[in-house]
């Protein structure tokens, strides 16, 4: 009946706090308070309860055999451990979160590739002071004037000027 040691994985709350995105900060704080409360409660309970001094009772209680019976039954009593129903749920949650996070990271990498491509375009283009109009139109296609659709100057709708 000796208390078992809980296998706790230590959580570095400082590093954890650093990684929390700003929009989930309140949720993180709630989790932290809850965890702290649980830990405090666990720490307030001693691991083994105060032992019963059987010899005192044996000498005090007159009825013969009663204390012995108490002791025997108390020693024989096995206290059931509470069943764990949440770990499997947490594992499922983690698997799901892993999946969504990997999807997110894939998307993020794709976005980074796109950004870098645009950055490359900016870095490799001809400097503005050495550009001709054709170079400008090649680099930024939106600056090209559509002379077929708007045959007269300024070759674009007046509203866009």
């Amino acid at each position: 009946m000796a208390g078992r040691r809980v296998a706790l994985k230590s959580v570095d709350w400082l590093a954890f706090a650093e990684r929390v995105p700003p929009n989930q900060r309140s949720m993180f704080n709630a989790l932290k308070t809850r965890s702290d409360a649980i830990a405090a409660k666990l720490n307030s309970l001693p691991e083994a309860p105060a032992a019963i001094d059987w010899s005192v009772y044996r000498s005090t209680v007159a009825k013969a055999g009663m204390v012995d019976e108490f002791e025997k039954k108390f020693k024989a009593l096995v206290i059931p451990e509470p069943t764990d129903t949440q770990t499997s749920a947490i594992n499922a949650q983690q698997a799901e979160s892993n999946k969504s996070a990997s999807v997110y990271i894939e998307g993020s990498k794709a976005r980074i590739a796109q950004y870098e491509q645009e950055l490359d375009k900016f870095k490799n283009m001809i400097p503005f002071d050495q550009m001709t109009i054709e170079d400008l139109n090649d680099t930024f296609p939106e600056t090209k004037l559509d002379k077929v659709k708007y045959p007269y100057w300024p070759h674009k709708p007046i509203a866009d000027l």
């Binding site: 809980v6 706790l8 009772y57 108490f70 950004y115 645009e118």
Partner: protein, 252 residues
């Protein structure tokens, strides 16, 4: 301009040394296609070199090998004299008008040219700097976006901590619950034992009280009226004796 290009390219073919520093595009030899993949050279900032404000330097360079340094001037003077003497070019009132207009134009260009050029340059530079600013902002925001994405990825990597914390909480709750059960069992057993002790103490006390009461009652009921009278008479005689004894001591 095209005629000048022909002259320039001819000179370029003849002597491979580059002639006009300004005409970069034109100083390349024609009829070659191997440079199509080469990066486009920068646009010239200034026009080609000219002499006396109008005659391209390339003409002089072209004529020097054949005629020496006075050759171009000799050619020009000879051509002019030839045109005048054969009346190909006739000096009439229009020539004077052209000279006057030319003088005024040259004066205007010399006088106002630099400031107009500065103004035009300023307009152009404003445009370019605006475009450059937009480009810088775009580059900075893109770099920032890349940075943010990487940071978000790093944050997403930290999710295992959340689940560690959750599992810890569950484990701690289970342990707390188990300990509470242990404490409850021990306390209950202890309370029952204490109850037994208290019950026993109560029994002993009540037995004692009952025994005292019973003995008292029996003693009282065993006393007969005769005994009572005798004892009262005895008490009275005792009191008398006591009274006499105290009187005697008080007198003495």
């Amino acid at each position: 301009m095209l005629s000048r290009l022909v002259i320039v390219s001819a000179a370029g073919l003849k002597s491979s040394s580059p002639l006009g520093a300004g005409l970069v595009q034109a100083s390349r030899s024609l009829h070659t296609s191997s440079q199509s993949l080469a990066p486009v050279p920068a646009l010239p900032e200034k026009g080609g070199k000219v002499r006396h404000g109008i005659f391209p330097d390339e003409i002089f360079q072209l004529l020097y090998p054949k005629t020496g340094v006075t050759g171009p001037y000799m050619l020009g003077t000879g051509l002019l004299l030839y045109m005048l003497s054969k009346e190909i070019y006739v000096i009439n009132h229009e020539t004077f008008a052209a000279a006057s207009i030319g003088a005024v134009i040259i004066y205007g260009v010399k006088k106002f040219g630099p400031s107009v050029a500065a103004f035009a340059d300023k307009l152009n530079e404003e445009k370019v700097s605006k475009a450059q600013e937009v480009k810088d902002v775009a580059v900075a925001s893109l770099a920032q976006a890349v940075e943010d994405e990487k940071k978000e990825q790093w944050r997403a990597e930290g999710r295992s901590m959340l689940f560690d914390a959750k599992r810890n909480n569950v484990a701690m709750l289970l342990e707390t619950n188990f300990r509470e059960r242990l404490h409850m069992v021990t306390n209950e057993v202890k309370r029952r034992l204490d109850y037994q002790v208290a019950l026993q103490n109560l029994h002993i006390r009540m037995e004692q009280e009952h025994m005292i009461n019973w003995v008292e009652k029996n003693v009282i009921s065993s006393i007969t009226p005769q005994q009572e009278k005798e004892s009262i008479a005895k008490c009275i005689t005792d009191l008398n004796a006591l009274a006499k004894a105290t009187q005697a001591t008080a007198v003495a």
